[in-house]
Subunit: 354 residues, 2 copies
Amino acid sequence: MPDTLSKPKYEVCLVGSGGVGTIASLVLTKSALARVTVVLRSKYNYVSEHGWEIDSVDHGKISRWKPYRVVRSAVEAATVERTTNAENKDVRDHAGQVKEVEYDYVVVATKALPSLNPVAKMISPVITPGKTTVVVIQNGIGIEQDIVKAYPGNVVMSSVSHIGSEVQEPNVVVQVGKDASKIGPHLHGGVDDSISMAKARSFVEMYVAGGAHTCELVSDIQTARWEKLLWNGTFNTVCALMRMDVGEMQRSKGRETLLVPMMWEIWRIAEAAGHAMPQSIVQWMAYRLPDDCAYRPSMLLDLENGRPMEVDVILGNALAKAREVGVETPVLSVVYNLLVLEEWKIGQRTAGET
Amino acid sequence: MPDTLSKPKYEVCLVGSGGVGTIASLVLTKSALARVTVVLRSKYNYVSEHGWEIDSVDHGKISRWKPYRVVRSAVEAATVERTTNAENKDVRDHAGQVKEVEYDYVVVATKALPSLNPVAKMISPVITPGKTTVVVIQNGIGIEQDIVKAYPGNVVMSSVSHIGSEVQEPNVVVQVGKDASKIGPHLHGGVDDSISMAKARSFVEMYVAGGAHTCELVSDIQTARWEKLLWNGTFNTVCALMRMDVGEMQRSKGRETLLVPMMWEIWRIAEAAGHAMPQSIVQWMAYRLPDDCAYRPSMLLDLENGRPMEVDVILGNALAKAREVGVETPVLSVVYNLLVLEEWKIGQRTAGET
């Protein structure tokens, strides 16, 4: 058994151990308040044997690091680890029916691809109704709704993470940007607000105890989401569409002709949806990076590598909200429709490969 | 001397001998009404020695074909051909000052790139004020204005060509689509309408006599231009931006989400500008080609080959007209701004090469 507390305060299951998720699993483990089980799919074989090689601006260099448990699937995470094959076999027969482990928190740090990989379905084996709190650390807008719908008696929390961290093959995690996040409860009718608030507070305390750079408990996490969307809905999407890095986008004047108008559209949707931001934030978001910035946003990397992009949660859901609240989105809509064509192309290539 | 009439009815200078222009020079020559001088730049050396190899759906196969004269520049076109170097030298000293050849028609069939290669300046050596009629066979909208401004006493005509014809290196012209064009005078205050009309009629008669599939004299050539823009402003631009052929654009539903809305924007600009088209034309333009059509529009080929694109005359001028007549263009404007970024990228690469 790994060298961790035998009786931690919280059982935590983390799904999606990329750059963001792996650092989160490290922070939660270091808090000594959590026993962390991580669900890994493609990397299971390698990481369960070798662990992670971490090089972190917050935590230093750590070699062969593993959380309490690494498993292949959410179903496996819900069962107690057996030491022999025979016993394992018994457990798998009960998979999906019996929950041997009841989790206090399930942390979702996957890429947000609701149509390919819906979160509510993905985490169902590790959810105990009325008990498990779901924490989503994902991009986009409106990502909590399907979870609330599937688990109406559970607390749902949402985290907006600003962290520069990526996985390099096969098991190296390089964190160059400090882990700064805002976390808040996603209040809904199925749970008393006081309970949602208390669960959120406990999680933030645990996350701070684990040595994150900053982790702030906020009452209105949606405003933080819209704030991040000012970047993700503009630089991230148009850099992808145009195969341009941030500096090229700025030097080409695309910032002025496209991104700033898009930012104002996002700003107006957020305002109409009850999440007003100061006007000055648009200027700040648009002009905070230098013109020689060679940063290639995540959606551009996804596009270049033929991977699915987070178009739905970043633009699709924002546009649905715009229609709901009656805000015009001429530029965002066109960029969205063009990115849908890029997704179609990626889908055609993927289909051709199988 | 080439085997042509020694005393033709018209002196014609043609600038821009690509797929469209070379067939036009052949048609005009075949009419036996014109003595055609063609200005060639990069291809001068090869074509002046070997002529063109033409394979045409209208004219059959013709080997080593040359017009009456092939010259290196408009300045050279304005001077009489000398047979010795000494004489040539004398003439060049007078270049731009003396016009030894006065042209009845100057036909412009270059790609329309007003900022890189303004037509009015390009043709100035072959224009005789008050005499030479300028015929533009180019894409886009508003391309006649600069010519009228530069030569206010000259007739200007404009042709909308539908011809499938391309140059394959070094000197092969393959024409697979019949040469069907509409030609009309661009009436303006500097010339009597009756004179403009008469010059246009003579040109069309000559073009028909030369064996073009069809060449129709129309009174409102601008409506024909807007009609062609329904295609060039939509399929041509978005296929380029998305690196998709026509069939991919249709199968991906980009036609419905982007192209049809753009067509209606163009339709409304044209209507407001006094060039109303039947509503049914949008449906026809959008749905006339099959979903497996692998056609790659010209702007896509330009983009893939890092060549300048006709963004200004196809979208820029249409958007300027939209502002003038007060028509909203939400989709066209975004596609235009994105293509401007593509042009910026091409410009950056070209700058890096020199």
